[in-house]
């Protein structure tokens, strides 16, 4: 029988031989990307692969994940919905506004959203937050994984419009998509500085850590609005 312990609200650690990250499945009986399902004490859990999800890696890197059961999340760069599915598990009574720009990956995301009532798929450019202003309400968390050279600016623009004043920003910075040639460490320093100073609103960085060994040259950042 696997043992289960809580790491953060809605995020669990399953121990059966080895330790594995997991969330409680909102869509019992269905796997999203081939992850394993476990039934413990009448609930079904889905294992969460930190190598395929930057948020999963951030949990293991001891970030304090600001997601609660009723959180509303604006998820930029939803892709096929691997991580979105876990966020949707965590915020079971909340909402995930999942913004994705590519129609190809949106196909998979639609399949996911059709089975999960708290996922709202939006095919739009995260760099233009005004284009989904008629759909998205203020949120508690902006999560961003867009791998764009101007991702700090994109985060700031979305936070300005949608993030509640006590909300949090979670983002994954991919050094290689900001500058292929530069040293990743330097890129991380520059990007963090940009978040702190360059745009409106400015952020206060609560935590910033390299996501090694789960993701190469990625930095995870947790921030809140500067008062």
């Amino acid at each position: 029988m696997p043992e289960i312990s809580t790491l953060s609200e809605g995020i669990f650690e399953i121990t059966r031989g080895k330790k594995q990250l997991a969330t409680r499945n909102l869509d019992p009986g269905t796997t999203v990307y081939g992850e394993k399902l476990f039934s413990v004490e009448g609930s079904e859990y889905r294992t969460w692969d930190p190598r395929r999800s930057k948020l999963g890696a951030m949990v293991l890197k001891k970030f304090k994940i600001p997601l609660k059961r009723d959180s509303k999340v604006l998820y930029l760069g939803a892709a096929s919905g691997t991580t979105v599915s876990h966020v949707s598990d965590i915020v079971s009574d909340g909402a995930v506004y999942a913004v994705e720009f590519s129609p190809r990956t949106m196909r998979d995301l639609i399949g996911l959203a059709a089975r999960r009532r708290n996922v709202y798929p939006i095919l739009a450019d995260a760099g233009k937050p005004g284009t989904y202003a008629h759909l998205v309400e203020p949120v508690d968390v902006v999560f961003q994984d867009v791998a764009q050279p101007n991702q700090a600016e994109i985060a700031a623009r979305n936070a300005a419009r949608y993030l509640k004043s006590d909300g949090h920003l979670l983002l994954a910075i991919k050094a290689r998509s900001i500058d292929t040639a530069a040293n990743p460490k330097q890129v991380f320093r520059d990007e963090v500085k940009k978040l702190e100073q360059a745009f409106e609103p400015k952020f206060e960085i609560l935590n910033a850590r390299d996501l090694k060994p789960y993701h190469e040259d990625h930095l995870g950042v947790l921030a809140k609005l500067k008062e």
Binding site: A113, P121, H134
Partner: protein, 340 residues
């Protein structure tokens, strides 16, 4: 102040209270179409931090937060489906065809080699390979069946190959038939790409040839993206490894990416190739833009490219002299001929 929400048009007073509202019907499809029409940034974007949910409750569009969730979920899902179904444009179809072609090429090469290995044991003297071999095996099977008019009949008669038994013959013949049909499929896809390129990118097709043009669109992601590329990018598309090596270290910059397959470049002597690549890329960038924005064929573009290339050939008839340093002391640097 008026603003547009997914459920209706609202009129707000200064303190954010809803004064009046013009609500839509609760038809999911209508709401989804309406939502798509609101994507264009225009007037009536809700202000930052606007509480859509409480406004929807306040003006009586929905009775409970649950109803709001349910309806918004249906609407966003429907809108996304509408967008996805409209996403396959003519250039996307070309890209899919190019990708299918690459897969077929790879497969057909592997299978052809397998066939040549396999049939070689029974008729090593045939000297055939690729499609010719596949056609030959599919037609005759064992070399005993080669008809006398075939030029290979004499060789077939006194081959040192083993006898092909009935069971093996059926197997190998079936295999060869499959390979033949893959070659046919390849021709079909090539013809498709040629005719579609003529329609959606006539200038690019004229200057680069339909296959190279299609590949450029495929790597760029769409004709629109290709048209937005500077010509220097077009020049090195496909030479990623060499380009990043150049950017990271002191490696020489690549002279050409996939445009190397352009006949003007790959037939040129090495010292002219970089210059011609640059000229070709410049005109390809123009061609892509013309195709995207006007769609009309402009034959003068090809003439200008010809003239430019003639000029490059005339100006650089001889290979450049390698710089002679002080005898044995230094090797010439950065003069090494290197391809991607």
């Amino acid at each position: 102040m008026k603003l547009e929400a997914w459920f209706g048009t609202l009129d707000l007073c200064e303190d954010g209270k809803v004064l009046a509202s013009d609500l839509f019907s609760k038809n999911v499809r209508e709401l989804a179409l309406r939502s798509l029409s609101l994507r264009e940034p225009g007037k009536g974007i809700p202000p930052a931090g606007f509480e859509l949910r409480s406004a929807a409750l306040a003006c009586g569009f929905v009775e409970s937060p649950e109803e709001y969730d349910f309806l918004l979920h249906e609407v966003t899902l429907e809108a996304a489906k509408l967008q996805v179904s409209g996403a396959i444009t003519p250039d996307q179809r070309i890209i899919l065809a190019v990708e299918a072609l690459d897969d077929i090429n790879e497969t057909v090469n592997v299978l052809s080699e397998r066939l040549s290995e396999w049939y070689g044991g029974y008729f090593p003297e045939s000297g055939l390979s690729g499609e010719a071999l596949a056609l030959f095996v599919a037609k005759y099977g064992s070399r005993k069946n080669v008809d006398p008019e075939n030029p290979l009949s004499a060789k077939a008669a006194d081959s040192m190959g083993a006898e092909l038994e009935t069971l093996d013959e059926a197997l190998i013949k079936g295999f060869a038939t499959s390979v033949c049909s893959l070659y046919d499929r390849r021709k079909q896809i090539e013809a498709y790409i040629e005719s579609s390129m003529e329609n959606i990118a006539p200038n690019l097709s004229l200057l680069a040839g339909p296959m190279l043009g299609a590949r450029l669109i495929s790597i760029a992601g769409s004709l629109k993206k290709l048209a937005a590329f500077p010509s220097s990018t077009i020049q090195v598309i496909g030479a990623n490894k060499a380009l990043f090596k150049h950017l990271r270290s002191r490696a020489p910059s690549p002279k050409h990416g996939i445009i190397y397959s352009h006949p003007m470049i790959n037939t040129a002597p090495w010292w002219q190739r970089g210059k011609i690549s640059r000229a070709v890329a410049a005109k390809l960038a123009l061609a892509a833009r013309m195709d995207l924005y006007s769609g009309e064929k402009v034959p003068s573009l090809a003439e200008k490219l010809d003239a430019k290339v003639q000029q490059i050939r005339a100006m650089n008839p001889e290979p450049p002299q390698k710089k002679q340093g002080d005898g044995m002391k230094s090797k010439p640097k950065g003069k090494k001929k290197r391809r991607q």
